[in-house]
Amino acid sequence: MAAVPRQPDLPPPAAATGALGWVRRNLFDSPLNGALTLLAVYLLYLVVPPFVEWAILKADWSGTTAKDCSRAGACWVFIGVRLNQFFYGFYPVAEQWRVNTCLALLVAFVVPLFIKRFALKQWLGAVLLVVYPVVAFHLLVGGHFGLAHVETSKWGGLSLTLVIAIVGMVAALPLGILLALGRRATNMPVLKALCVAFIELWRGVPLITVLFMSSVMLPFFLPEGMNFDKLLRALIGVALFEAAYMAEVVRGGLQGIPKGQFEAAAALGLGFWRSTILVILPQALKLVIPGIVNTFIALFKDTSLVLIIGLFDLLGSIQAANSDTNWLGFSTEGYVFAACVYWVFCFGMSRYSQWLERKLHTGHRR
């Protein structure tokens, strides 16, 4: 018997492997999908080339006045000239190092919290929550230790946005936890009713009416002659508003903890506060980290609303720069710049939350 010589394996058909195969599988595997692909390519053709041409190819990058812009494309000169104002508002130039120091301190305190092997996280967290706000407040406001006093009406730009967002986050989370605990306190009906009323009241109205109230109505409720800072009033409004949303997120986490955990903590002899802080909250908060970060993102976007009550946050200072008579007609550049800045912050936070969700997800995955 003559052995049949073994044929070498044929390569797979060219149309099923490599780039061509990928294109066939993912873009043209049915007539409908082929049509959709062509439609999508056409849409991209309509949007992308003109935008690239406007934003990069025909854009003007250098100069100092509006006359340096050809107006054939974007005029990034406008952003360059106003960059300082977009970042610091009207904070005096000589004092801007104070804002920078605050930011640098914040970064220095926050970054180690994200390093897995850093050992002193709890201490650092405590410093960040207790010491840092005091230091930052004195640095920004001044008036002590030879620092010149800077009125909050001069604060502005991205730094003001960050101040509102950070203060809002730091105040809203503990307040929200307390409200959520109150709403779950079935043995104290009066307290529960108060918390439910508070949460539903704030969640039922738009933030803008809350800010209006803080700027128009609050003076009526204070004793005559007593008045406090516009920024502080906005901060209180934002913090209370977001606390109500945070409370609902945290309540979701509390509901996800099985009853056995409460009973086990009670059986160990832990009282209410100790069982809550040591047993319940660590698990409940872990469950709802994505929800908490989503609330933070919403809060960050909501900070832009303060422009309506006359504070110059990032969007507010862009809006002010757009109405400068020397620079009329460049509002698109301003908005695109602001959109990029907001987008980077929000997208970063949302990616972080997705990463956390994956890291904490220990169930089955398909």
Binding site: L36, A40, L305, Y342, F347
Partner: protein, 396 residues
């Protein structure tokens, strides 16, 4: 839990400061006293301040003459109308922009949510890019962009962008032809109602037949045909009773036709595009929430993919989708209050803005404004509770 009986009589009662009931009552009394004290203090200050500034309380101001003009009103309004009328105008404008926004955002959101799950790589990536771009940019920024950078940069009426001879887009707004209903339109309306009733009856009959015999009837195609053909026939038989009036350029602006002010157009654009990104995520989450086993079971039963989607996936996905969808609708309604940034005369901008500034009745005006939003959101949460109770899985 079983209580161990201690030797020597019943268990000792804890001292009052360790008794949970006593502590709960004490704590609640303290909190209520604190809340009441703060409330009394604030009201006292309020009454004092109002007295000092000579502002009279009460809702009498609603009958006074407003004396300012409003650039969009769904009901009759002129400068001699009362402040109460401005409330109605603002409320209707808020409802108008919210209603239209909900319709547009739902359509766009469903399309993008389904596209996000498409097997087509490019389509799914485009949908993802849309979602990630628009939901990470503050809504207020988008509203300002559409208003100041797009609509106010459109050409003036004399050089209007046009679609055919009847739709014009200018920096003064969007002009559409206005339909005029002549005699005999009643027949068309009657035909529409009859077609809808017939389709409902058809659906009932088909369902009953399917339950009895298992045979399916093409209900959707048949009712679509009814709804199109019957009114069309009535329209032709009644001698085409609808005529379109195109807007025409007269002097510096268009007249005739329906005009959409640029504020409304910009607000609607921004609200729909922004909310659609969130609705798309909701839709995607809903579809993904139906476990893969359901699809597999459906194909094991021999259902075709289209039927699997319609009969198995979507009914289950709706249960998960509708509650977050309604809360997106509520968000859209509340977000429409950002209209005040571009001067669209909604409830907040008109009533809590202009009316409040003119009358100085801050407390009454803010209370009325917030009550409207609270009423809307309570109504929507009542609906949601009802829906959840109806839709909840009945487990044994």
């Amino acid at each position: 839990m079983s209580q161990m009986t201690q030797p020597g009589g019943p268990p000792k009662r804890p001292p009052p400061w360790n008794d949970p009931r006593v502590r709960a009552i004490t704590f609640q009394v303290l909190v209520s006293a604190g809340v009441i004290a703060v409330g009394v203090y604030l009201v006292h200050n309020l009454l004092h301040n109002l007295a000092v500034r000579g502002i009279s309380t009460g809702f009498g101001f609603l009958d006074n003459r407003a004396g300012f003009a409003i650039n969009q009103s769904l009901v009759h309004y002129d400068e001699s109308s009362s402040y109460g009328r401005t409330f109605v105008v603002g409320l209707l404008n808020t409802l108008l922009v919210s209603g239209l926004g909900i319709v547009f955002a739902t359509i766009l959101g469903f399309v993008i949510g389904v596209a996000r799950l498409s097997r087509n790589w490019l389509v799914s990536r485009l949908a993802a890019a849309y979602i990630e771009t628009f939901r990470n940019i503050p809504l207020l920024l988008q509203i300002l962009f559409w208003y100041f950078a797009v609509f106010l940069n459109l050409p003036p009426p004399s050089e209007a962008l046009r679609v055919g001879d009847s739709v014009f887009l200018t920096l003064r707004g969007l002009y559409l032809p206005r339909p005029e209903f002549g005699d005999g339109f009643g027949w068309v309306a009657l035909a529409i109602v009859a077609a809808l009733a017939a389709s409902a009856a058809l659906a009932r009959w088909a369902r009953a037949r399917q339950e009895r015999t298992g045979e399916r009837f093409p209900v959707f195609a048949a009712s679509a045909g009814l709804v199109v053909v019957l009114p069309l026939a009535a329209y032709l038989l009644a001698g085409r009773p609808v005529t379109l009036h195109s807007p025409e350029l007269e002097g510096f602006n268009f007249s005739g036709g329906v005009s959409v002010i640029p504020e409304l157009a910009a607000l609607l654009m921004a609200l729909s595009i922004y909310t659609a990104a969130f609705i798309a995520e909701t839709v995607r989450a809903g579809i993904l929430s139906v476990s893969h086993g359901q699809t597999e079971a459906a194909s094991a039963l021999g259902l075709r993919p289209g039927w699997t989607l319609r009969l198995v996936i979507i009914p289950q996905a709706m249960r998960v989708t509708i509650p977050p969808l309604t809360s997106q609708y509520l968000n859209l309604t509340k977000n429409s209050s950002l209209a005040t940034a571009i001067g669209y005369p909604d409830l907040v901008s008109l009533f809590a803005g202009t009316t409040l500034n003119q009358t100085g009745q801050a407390v009454e005006v803010m209370a009325m404004t917030m009550a409207v939003y609270l009423a809307i959101s309570l109504a929507i949460s009542l609906f949601m509770n009802w829906f959840n109770a109806r839709m909840a899985l009945v487990e044994r």
